[in-house]
């Protein structure tokens, strides 16, 4: 499996609906054989971008390249990709078998070849016993597998998925995450996966593209996006609970935080905070017990924040001194929301430092 090479390149793509921009000058490059996840809140333009790649919609401006070639105006079927829809888009009047080989049939693949590929794929997806059923006779999870089988049997190198797991229950979703990732690895697929669920993004992605309001906020590995959010938006969107953001005045002058007047924000994850001997004094507001740990809500100089303590430790007193891991802190410009990478400590993890966020 060869990875690293750019397979899909999005170059300054915008998509306007009337005068509102669903995508606003987006540029990103997705690598071959990688599992790329488009992550962002509902309505941020993820599906729009995916549909542009698929050719189901046309961009207002900009270019999309697949395998180096500009695919502008190229029909979806000529782009050598498959797609799994959120609604599965199974043909209700066809059996599982007919649904899976539908594409091969309309492309005129010989029957013997169709059946050979079907055997392999059906076995791989655990659908061999269900081939004679209609979609309405399947559970949600089984329908999902049929949709996946239809994509896999096409043997096309790129697979686009739009929130494929969102209609499944939590347990099945967790199983399917593992399975999807395994299939992608085994077949060396280039997957572009749309979701608003950060757990899906974190667990499956080689690379996460964080989107917000039609723009790309950050492109990076799950570790990079979590540990070094490029913007205030990413800091607040990734992580449950999200990263705490403090005005710099509260911490000014300590641990390399520039003394300031509130023009900067200090970002700290709940697990990077702890009870210290000395430090700014915080006021306890509430404790949430989660089994493995406790989420402590507190307030520091008018800013509410959450810290995560192991459940084995005693709950904090009503007032306590706040400590933090300075090498994990993020510094943001309060006005632009951008990360101030110049203040980063040496990388805490072995991951490569990469703050490419391609919206300027």
């Amino acid at each position: 499996m060869q990875t690293g090479q750019a397979q899909i390149q999005i170059e300054n793509v915008s998509r306007l609906f009337g005068s509102t921009a669903a995508l606003d000058d987006v540029s990103v490059s997705l690598r071959k054989g990688e599992f790329s996840v488009l992550l962002g809140p509902s309505g941020c333009g993820k599906s729009t971008l995916l549909r542009l790649i698929a050719g189901l919609d046309a961009q207002t401006s900009g270019a999309i390249r697949i395998g180096g070639a500009d695919v502008g105006g190229k029909a979806p079927s000529l782009r050598e990709l498959s797609m799994v829809f959120q609604s599965y888009a199974l043909f209700p009047h066809l059996t599982v078998l007919e649904n899976i080989v539908f594409g091969l049939r309309v492309r005129g693949v010989a029957k013997a070849e169709r059946m050979k590929r079907l055997d392999t794929v059906a076995a791989m997806m655990g659908l061999s016993q269900l081939l004679a059923r209609k979609p309405s006779e399947l559970s949600g999870g089984q329908q999902q597998r049929v949709a996946l089988a239809r994509a896999v049997i096409s043997e096309r190198p790129i697979c686009l998925m739009d929130e494929p797991l969102s209609n499944l229950d939590a347990k099945l979703r967790a199983d399917m995450r593992v399975e999807l990732r395994a299939i992608q690895q085994a077949l060396g697929l280039t997957v572009v996966y749309v979701t608003h669920d950060q757990i899906e993004a974190m667990t499956m992605a080689d690379r996460i593209i964080v989107m917000n309001a039609g723009r790309i906020e950050q492109v990076g590995t799950p570790e990079e996006v979590y540990a070094r959010p490029a913007t205030v938006f990413t800091a607040g969107f990734i992580g449950t609970p999200p990263m705490n953001l403090f005005p710099v005045a509260l911490f000014g002058g300590r641990h390399g935080v520039p003394p300031g007047t509130g023009k900067h924000l200090v970002g700290l994850r709940p697990e990077d905070l702890f009870l210290a001997e000395t430090g700014p004094e915080a006021e306890l507001r509430g404790v949430e017990y989660l089994g493995a740990d406790r989420l402590v809500s507190a307030r520091l100089g008018g800013t509410d924040f959450i810290l995560r303590l192991p459940a084995s430790a005693a709950p904090p007193p009503a007032r306590f001194a706040l400590g933090w891991a300075p090498e994990r802190q993020s510094l943001f410009d309060a006005a632009s929301g951008q990360r101030l990478a110049g203040f980063d400590f040496a990388s805490p993890s072995p991951t490569k430092k990469d703050f490419t966020h391609e919206t300027a």
């Binding site: 029909a75 079927s77 829809f85 043909f91 009047h93 594409g103 309309v106 492309r107 309405s136």
Partner: protein, 290 residues
């Protein structure tokens, strides 16, 4: 259930029951009984003739003409109105400028009374100054009297039915097309499925229940709708547009041979039942119900 509840239940059902029996079931049964008797006239009372009225039909040239006409009329109007309505539905299913205007135009004939429609078409067909003749004259063809000629009158009447019915059936097809999710079309597009292939493999099977429903209605209407015959031809010229139902009307209410009319009615109902039931059984295997 106790007695009181039963009595209440029957009391509730009573009004509907009375009307149904008085205006549907009793007449049907009486019609069937009457068809075995002769028509009573003045002092001569009705006498039982058994299948006499039915035997009479076989020797009645106008009845035979009416049967042939009805068959031809049904064979033309049913497929033509269904195909036309499906074509119109496919046309206005997409969105483009003026699509609502187009939908409304297609639907307008449906809301007009058939009597009014017939009068409009009489003007279209009018020899000399009618719309069709004016076009014929422009392209240098001689004037033609479509409604007045025995060899064209039936087709002229059939055209009105098609024009009237297609818009109505279009609504059902349009509703059926709208229920096909857009994502099916997109999934097929990614697989490289062309428009015609998609129509054949997906659209057509999915709208099959609607097609069945529409075709049953088309069959019933082919025998039921004769208003325009009254206005345009009165069964003529020379019985060229004599349809079964119109013949029943003439026999029963112009010649007052009510017993013979009753027998003709039984024939009509028998035809409709056989066709209707047959359609359901035949089509059932090919219909996809969700």
């Amino acid at each position: 259930m106790n007695r009181r509840t039963w009595i209440h239940a029957w009391l509730m059902l009573l009004p509907a029951f009375v009307f149904l029996i008085a205006f549907t079931h009793l007449p049907a049964v009486t019609t069937l009984i009457d068809s075995f008797w002769t028509t009573g006239k003045g002092r001569r009372a009705a006498v039982f003739t058994g299948l006499g009225n039915y035997r009479k039909m076989l020797e009645d040239p106008i009845f035979i003409k009416a049967m042939v006409n009805s068959a031809v009329y049904a064979a033309i109007t049913i497929p033509a109105s269904i195909l036309l309505s499906l074509a119109m539905a496919l046309l206005v299913h997409r969105s483009f400028r003026g699509v609502s205007l187009m939908r409304m135009a297609f639907f307008t004939p449906t809301v007009l009374p058939l009597i009014a429609v017939a009068n409009i078409w009489l003007f279209f067909y009018a020899p000399g100054f009618g719309l069709i003749d004016q076009i014929r004259l422009v392209v240098g063809l001689p004037s033609a009297n479509y409604v007045g000629q025995p060899d064209t009158a039936l087709y002229a009447v059939a055209a009105v039915t098609i024009w009237k019915e297609a818009g109505f059936f279009m609504i059902f097809f349009l509703a059926a097309l709208q229920t096909i999710p857009q994502s099916l079309r997109e999934a097929a597009a990614i697989e490289g499925c062309g428009r015609w292939t998609f129509f054949r493999l997906v659209t057509l099977p999915l709208i099959m229940p609607t097609t069945l429903f529409v075709s049953v209605n088309a069959v019933i209407n082919a025998f039921r709708l004769v208003d325009h015959v009254f206005v345009m031809t009165k069964g003529g010229p020379d019985s060229a547009t004599m349809l079964l139902l119109y013949y029943i009307f003439e026999t029963g209410f112009r010649f007052w041979d009510t017993a013979y009319a009753a027998a003709l009615t039984v024939v009509l109902i028998a035809i409709l039942s056989v066709v209707g039931i047959g359609q359901f059984f035949l089509a059932d295997r090919r219909v996809h119900y969700k």
